[in-house]
Symmetry: C2
Subunit: 194 residues, 2 copies
């Protein structure tokens, strides 16, 4: 299963593609951040995002698009633009009959770090470990897009799932699950050391 | 000049087309309300709105699209969907190189009724009078879309403009301006009579 994660935004829109298979490690396919100039008209900014997102959808052919659910309680000055960037992304997927799932920021954080209140550095560190990347994905929007894709793969149960200990059932963890548990533990140690 | 006014919304999206020429009465070309079912997925709702808006743009070929500016301070439960409906409208216009203008609800109310705090009934009554419609446009979203188009024509100075008395300069009102003043006065009397 291939997931395109989208962290929507007018100024920076994170796009990350992750492949996952049952019992296999999640693998990064591509990651990028689309930027549109703050001084441009809304229409040209939305067009830039829509064209980029449509290009990615046509090229990487995701099975599902995971979009961050925007809340109106967020930063009021950016929330309308974020909602509109999310809207054109959802529209582009609907035009291609690609299913869209929405995940809240805390669901994504909990999926990759074990805590819904993890900070950006922790999310980035976990994404790097889970996908075995030689470098941390930058900026945070890129890491968030990959985290969204991982979150969906794990919640969907297609790829490595929550560790058996957390799920309350004994044993039977796959190699990927064990790697995930090890990564979570390493991340916690790293956080404590700081 | 032909203006397509759009009162964005997921459940009801008002569309109204008004033609205006300098010194001539504004004329309604078309009006409708697009509805998408509340139970449907966001993607299919945005697709329905986008397809309808694109169809209108291709058929009526507006010179400009006037969209209501959405504020995040509005009703929190609907504001995200409204922003997304506005987003796909702005995107559709940008794809066709049609300029988009945004007007706030109070700008629109002030343009057609003289008061930024006018209620829906007053806006509907004025839209009916300004466009000389035999029936009041219903529902309110249809009237709001027409009011947006009228607002843009008048603010733009292309069609009948603010009455000379309001603009602070004496005399020289066109027939359309005089008709507008008469309509405003009639509306005020009507309100008092109720």
């Amino acid at each position: 299963m291939r997931v395109l994660g989208v962290d929507p935004g007018l100024t920076r829109c994170g796009l990350g593609v992750v492949d996952g298979l049952p019992g296999r490690r999640a693998r990064m396919v591509a990651v990028d951040v689309i930027r549109t100039p703050a001084g441009s008209e809304l229409g040209s900014r939305l067009l830039g995002i829509s064209d980029a997102v449509e290009g990615w959808m046509d090229q990487v052919r995701p099975d599902v698009v995971a979009v961050e659910r925007v809340f109106s309680q967020n930063n009021l000055s950016t929330v309308m633009g974020t909602a509109q960037a999310a809207g054109v992304t959802v529209l582009a997927a609907a035009r291609r009959n690609i299913p869209v799932v929405m995940h809240t920021p805390s669901e994504v954080k909990a999926a990759v770090t074990g805590s819904g209140r993890a900070d950006k550095a922790q999310v980035t560190a976990m994404v790097q470990r889970i996908l075995q990347l030689s470098e941390a994905p930058r900026p945070a929007d890129a890491a968030d897009a990959l985290a969204l894709a991982i979150c969906h793969l794990w919640r969907d149960g297609t790829a490595a799932v929550m560790p058996a200990s957390a799920a309350g059932s004994g044993g039977g963890a796959t190699a990927a699950q064990q790697a995930w548990v090890a990564a979570i533990e390493a991340s916690k140690k790293g956080s404590r050391a700081r």
